[in-house]
Symmetry: C2
Subunit: 304 residues, 2 copies
């Protein structure tokens, strides 16, 4: 794949947003006195292992588009990253994907043991809801908007979202292995939480439902595009790029986009979804939607 | 241990409350179309394996004391049982307590495999927060009270509560193995969620903080008593009573009350906590506090 020459602005933008999120995560997710030190070390190992911070970056970008003070939303950014990190820790477990490396570092269970990894994941998932109901966060918003935000995030993470998608991913849907099934699994496993990362800050801000609907449309599209790109990289990417052995999902019968429709069609589908996402934002003024266009481009950049 | 002759009323009361909770759980926790069937089968296996339902029974009893319509609180009852069940499923995993039997039935991972058990637990924990933020539930309360309820439940379940306590239980506190450490672990592992089961319905109802403080005092005391009784039963109980091999926690260096202070002193401590719990409720009229006295008696009844 040729190295793209254009994305200077995009990379600058993403890096700037990510840098701000890193500061927030370090501020919000420090060890607290009542937590077992060694257990939160395990959680911190995975939390601060250099992720893309895509979910909080999406949320931050929405907050800025709405012209709000992002400091008020810090707990939401941290909560989204906690949920994402917990899912990685549990997905890496021997009984699940059995991965020993993640982003070039030992996975949580390899470094801290399985029991600590299971509990670190459980704790991070729970912490997300502690953060979303903490007084210092809640006071910034209408309480009914906080509840709706919790609803969006929890449904995206649960049986009809991420957890359900991961189950289908491991055990199959028991039905036809076609594109429709695959999009359903991807939507559940990845797109729901990415979409919730866009919707939650909007709901929290009490935006009109027309704006919310556009943001959800955008979030759904980039969420699917993201998972398809991940699947493509898992086939063609280098070990350095992914931080884990290429094709490590291949030990079991995982249903991936490239397997069902081939690499070229997968890349085309990702590009199509990227355009679809941008189109959803056309209702907004150019300067408002530019960051979202950059984020959509960033998501498919990896497979260009 | 002699069979007690007096607890007719107590048993009747507990059974009646439990019966109502069973109806609620079956109503609220049915399989939903967007959930993977096999995964929710795994969750249902553990949810409907005949537990004591102590947490929702406590919550129901508070709701009745406050003279509220318990139908409005159904999602809270279900959420508490979801969190308790998730903790059992994860605690039973091979990397944790490695138990093959729970209440006389195969544990979730023995029957459905480890991956499904991990995900069923994750899904149940998340479901608790979906239930607590569901429109049909939220509309019954002030939204700020719903948020406070979510705060109580999540903190009780997280790093400074159940998850942290389970970590200490498995890995030790790294410090002195004395009674103080033990009470801390027990408070985190068990008492916090039992206490939250008493506090959450009160917070949701917007009670005065003096009433809340009394209920929390009661909940903390019975929570500790409960865990001490569990530890005693794990030493002296029969396989039939516990549904798992006696002394199954003994394979590793678990810190239990009987191990530190002996059986007799442990039973005395449980009785003392039971009296302390009853005393916390003395501020309420006799007919209001009677169900709480019965519940406290029920908790230590098993080791009489």
């Amino acid at each position: 794949m040729p190295v793209s020459t254009e994305p200077r602005t995009m990379i600058d933008f993403i890096e700037a947003q990510r840098g701000r999120i890193e500061v927030v995560l370090k501020k919000v997710l420090h060890h607290r006195e009542t937590w077992p030190q060694a257990l939160t070390d395990a959680a911190a190992h995975s939390l601060f292992a250099g992720g893309k911070r895509l979910r909080p970056v999406l949320a931050l970008t929405v907050v800025e588009m709405l012209g709000r003070d992002y400091v008020k939303y810090e707990n939401l950014f941290a909560a989204l990253e906690c949920i994402h990190t917990y899912s990685l820790i549990h997905d890496d477990l021997p009984a699940m994907d059995n991965d020993e490396l993640r982003r070039g570092s030992p996975t949580c269970h390899k470094k801290f043991g399985e029991a600590a990894a299971i509990l670190a994941g459980d704790g991070l998932l729970t912490l997300a809801f502690e953060l979303l109901s903490e007084d210092s966060f809640v006071k910034n918003f209408q309480p009914e908007h906080v509840v709706q935000c919790i609803r969006h995030v929890s449904v995206a993470a649960g049986f009809s979202g991420m957890v359900g998608g991961q189950y289908y991913d491991i055990h199959g849907t028991g039905g036809a292995r076609d594109e429709k099934q695959l999009l359903k699994i991807h939507a559940m496993k990845t797109a729901r939480l990415l979409s919730a990362s866009v919707a939650a800050p909007a709901v929290l801000s009490g935006v009109h439902e027309i704006i919310l609907a556009k943001l959800v449309e955008y979030g759904d599209a980039i969420g699917l595009a993201f998972q398809i790109c991940d699947d493509i990289l898992n086939v063609v990417g280098s070990k350095e790029n992914m931080g884990k052995p290429v094709g490590s999902d291949d030990g079991r019968e995982t249903l991936t986009y490239p397997k069902v429709v081939g690499l070229d069609k997968s890349a085309a589908k990702a590009r199509e979804l990227c355009e679809q996402a941008k189109k959803a934002m056309e209702a907004f003024p150019a300067e408002k939607r530019q960051p979202f266009d950059l984020l959509a481009e960033f998501i498919i950049e990896r497979v260009k």
